[in-house]
């Protein structure tokens, strides 16, 4: 799991770096866009019961959220810019970059791959929580008991019976 998380993080960082480089080259043009390379979507194994695959489609075009205002200082035009959805292995990630004072001031994740529980864990959540305790005998009445012993007794009986038939 940690490796997957690292790959997702590396993907995002690389995408941001590419975006920054690209922004610098295009700082004099009318619309600055932060975008990440969109690989072709591929079906992934999931831990969810699936009658059909999750329906995930990448956003087709990057769109500026607000009209960039011309400014003379800094290398980027102020505003919020939405990148294309990118395949982060466990789903799609889409970021919005906020430019203020000509500088990149914030990056927001717009599209969490939330259709897959494993992806939720990668995108900033903690590792799955497990707890531990010592065994404690319980004394209350129950309607029924769950355990593995019954099937084993039955297994022994059944095997004995089968072997009896075979001999």
């Amino acid at each position: 799991m940690n490796i997957i998380r690292k790959y997702a993080q590396i993907t995002i960082v690389v995408a941001l770096l590419c975006a920054i480089v690209w922004l610098r080259r295009r700082s004099n043009e009318s619309v600055a866009e932060v975008s990440v390379a969109p690989p072709k979507p591929t079906p992934e194994a999931t831990t969810e019961p699936a009658a059909s695959s999750p329906d995930v489609t990448p956003t087709a075009l990057p769109t500026p959220i607000s009209t960039p205002t011309p400014q003379s200082s800094g290398q980027y035009r102020d505003g919020a810019y939405t990148g294309q959805s990118a395949n982060a292995y466990y789903g799609y990630i889409q970021i919005q970059a906020k430019i203020s004072g000509g500088k990149l001031v914030d990056v927001i994740f717009l599209d969490h791959p939330s259709d897959n529980r494993t992806s939720q864990l990668i995108n900033g959540q903690a590792m799955p929580l497990l707890k531990s305790e010592a065994l404690q005998a319980q004394s209350a009445e129950v309607d029924i008991v769950s355990g593995a012993s019954a099937s084993s007794e039955a297994f022994r009986q059944s095997l004995a019976s089968a072997l009896g038939q075979a001999s």
Partner: protein, 248 residues
């Protein structure tokens, strides 16, 4: 109305609380299980499973039920990254899911017949629907793998399935299909899921993963688990506590 029988070589209980319960319902369910046993028993030489393993039955001639089992097995294998596999060492052995399937079939039949408050159990795996009139759910005890006369946990379940897998009786019989070795790290593993088929198949797969099975289950939506380790400690998913009934 409650009845306990032996089916597929295992003890089974059906309990229906609805007042409309008809004794004939037991006959229906037990007859259905008898058919499943004849079809899937590895101990019956004429079973469909043995015919498949003997190369005597082409997939084109599988019964509808066998096709369904094969389909379910493929789905579970995918969901568990191969840790559940009905094909082992060249043999087809669906016994890991037939029990859950049989319970599920009986529960579906009872629901279709209009019953709302019942449980169906085979060898410690249970489907629980509705609740007894005096409480908010069925009370299920978890067996202490080190002392079968004791319970180590009590949970209250409504419209859930619960299954327990373990190494504590037959030894490390749940083999790790990925590494090929025996999975000895979990003495017992209880899984609660939305239905018993899911609980059963996940418990079998997770038990084969050893301790990592708990981490796997913690990531599965709608599933909680409680495992007993060889040192008599228990580890459980954080959502498991929602089902626990505290007793003195």
């Amino acid at each position: 109305m409650k009845k306990t029988i032996t089916t597929m070589g295992m003890p089974a209980t059906v309990q229906v609380l609805d007042e409309s319960a008809n004794p004939a319902l037991f006959d229906e369910i037990f007859a259905g299980w008898q058919l499943i046993d004849e079809r899937f028993s590895p101990y019956k030489s004429t079973s469909e499973v043995n015919q498949i393993n003997a190369g005597q039955l082409s997939a084109l001639n599988y019964s509808q039920q066998m096709i369904e089992i094969v389909r379910l097995a493929a789905e579970v294998k995918r969901q568990t990254a191969g840790y559940f596999d009905v094909w082992r060492q060249g043999r087809f052995d669906p016994s890991g899911i037939v029990k859950g399937y049989a319970i599920q079939q009986a529960a579906s039949w009872l629901e279709a017949a209009g019953y709302r408050n019942f449980l169906v159990e085979i060898a410690g795996d249970i489907e629980l629907r509705g609740q007894p009139s005096t409480s908010t759910g069925w009370r299920v005890g978890l067996e202490n793998p080190f002392d079968r006369s004791q319970l180590i946990k009590i949970v209250e379940l409504k419209d859930r399935g619960i299954a327990t897998s373990g190494t504590y009786i037959r030894g490390p019989h749940i083999d790790n299909p990925i590494s090929g070795g025996a999975a000895e790290e979990l003495i017992s593993l209880t899984v609660i899921a939305e239905d018993v088929f899911r609980a059963d198949s996940l418990a079998t797969a997770a038990c084969a993963m050893g301790r990592a099975g708990l981490t796997f289950l913690a990531q599965v939506e709608g599933v909680e688990a409680y495992a007993v380790l060889p040192d008599r400690q228990a580890i459980f998913t954080s959502g498991f506590e929602q089902y626990v009934v505290e007793t003195s």
